[in-house]
Subunit: 304 residues, 2 copies
């Protein structure tokens, strides 16, 4: 069980030399996800030698170019590389029309299963689940329909308490799996030994909340509460708080306040406006509210 996040781009608006727009590569419990896909993302994936053929799902927060314009190129590259396993896309309604129109006009025939999961709900919903991982949306407040995403590992198996188990002769090795899964043990005489007497609690699953473009919004706090790692956008510093409100973005201070209110363990900030040459000012401002803050940077890895 582990979460490994690599930042591919963390700047706002337009891609520039050494200032790539939003994209993140997420490895969670051996599931490989891409979050957002600004122009040039596929080259960033190559630069950091990430095995992008392994990507199973791509989550798109919203259809502004700096989060989305690299998606069609990445899909085309998968096709040219003769990908043969499914790709699932999660993003706002409209995504399917744009992608399929471009594939049609370029007469590109996709040789793998390409599944669109278009999102329209304004409440948090479960959009992905398998035996190890869940993904919920985090409805955000931006100029167009936007979601963040909460990635959670399911709790692991309970751990065998061998000191106790060996005292019960009836318990066989074959029973261990059921104990790990939390089941009670039934003796031959029908009596029950409660699972918690034979096992230790499971390792709780870790969680990562990605909060893309959004204005300051307390409504996300209950959804991201106590998560291990939070990414929150900080387009501006508080000197431009009014502009942040007008454009529906956040300041570094506001990101820090959200992290504190939600009692998260660590905060990453990004989506920096090009007007600020010194990114450390973002860190200082956020840290005044929430100490465990790190700056996003292309190529930087975060582990939970």
């Amino acid at each position: 069980m582990s979460i490994n996040l690599t930042i591919l781009g963390c700047h706002s608006a337009t891609p520039r030399i050494n200032a790539h727009t939003t994209s993140q590569f997420l490895d969670i419990n051996n599931r490989t996800f891409l979050i957002d896909c600004g122009e040039g993302t596929q080259v960033q994936l190559r630069k950091y030698k990430l095995r992008f053929s392994k990507i199973q799902c791509i989550f798109i927060s919203h259809l502004h170019g700096d989060h989305f314009y690299g998606l069609i190129g990445l899909i085309s590259t998968f096709m040219l590389h003769k990908r043969n396993h499914e790709l699932h896309l999660y993003g706002p309604k409209g995504m399917k029309e744009v992608i399929t129109l471009q594939l049609k006009l370029s007469k590109t025939w996709i040789n793998f299963g390409l599944y669109f999961h278009e999102l329209t709900s304004k409440s948090s919903e479960l959009i992905y689940e398998d035996d190890k991982v869940t993904v919920h949306t985090i409805p955000l407040k931006h100029r167009i329909y936007t979601n963040g995403f909460l990635f959670k590992e399911k709790d692991g198996d309970r751990k065998l308490n061998m000191g106790k188990i060996i005292k019960h002769e009836e318990i066989d090795v074959c029973d261990y799996r059921n104990l790990q899964l939390g089941k009670d043990f039934k003796n031959g005489d029908g009596s029950i030994i409660k699972n918690e007497l034979l096992t230790f609690p499971a390792t709780p699953g870790k969680s990562y909340a990605f909060c893309s473009d959004t204005m300051f919004s307390k409504s996300i706090v209950p959804i991201i509460e106590n998560c291990d790692l939070l990414y929150h956008e900080t387009t501006f510093l508080k000197d431009k708080e009014e502009l942040a409100t007008t454009t529906m973005h956040s300041t570094a201070q506001q990101a820090g306040i959200i992290a504190k209110m939600a009692n998260v363990k660590n905060l990453i900030i990004g989506h920096f406006s090009a007007r600020y040459p010194d990114l450390n000012l973002f860190k200082q401002e956020a840290m005044a509210e929430f100490k465990n803050t790190e700056l996003a940077k292309a190529g930087k890895e975060f582990q939970v």
Copy 2:
């Protein structure tokens, strides 16, 4: 009068680190044009410090991603930079639908005149003309509807032959402009002095032919005949001539043959497949047919 061409990308299929897809920045007689716009073109424009706000027209050869997927991002950047002068887009039918759909979904309101000139003709046609420059399409043979473009300077003014002019007292300085424009001179007695007796021929306009993705096609020769500079795609070497035919691309040898048949002055080759690590093999193969061959390379400038 001058033509100045900067290569922004010259590789086929997918953008990679240091292998950018097709785009060229063309300055012709003080008109600023962009030809094709693969993903990442806007970053290449910044890298080579080209004043891309000056671009007046963008010519798109076809709607394959490696020639087109950077266009929407560049338009969005123009909008964010508060561009306030017209932009004209020339490209295949379908271009307008893709671009406007993406602008609509991102709720992007363009604050400058954005004009689409969609092309459908299968014969060469004049698509742009002003007082100094013309642009004609070059119909190409590829998997989808594709055009090259022939950029031509109009001939300059005729040059005054002062040695002859001063012998005619009736000719005043005020008449010089008409002589430069090729008009005959009319004496007071109604007699005529032929223009060619008073002027030297004009400097002929230069020309640049951009031949994007195409299979070997002699039908383009009459259109590009005698041009000063020809760009012709060479995706493959002749070892893959069969694959070139199947995918409707050209080999370096075929590009050289076209340059020779069309009697052009200089040839640039590009659109190299990633399978060839040594690009000099392309140059050698083309030069066996046509000596004045140069390899395209990102950042390289060509002047006519």
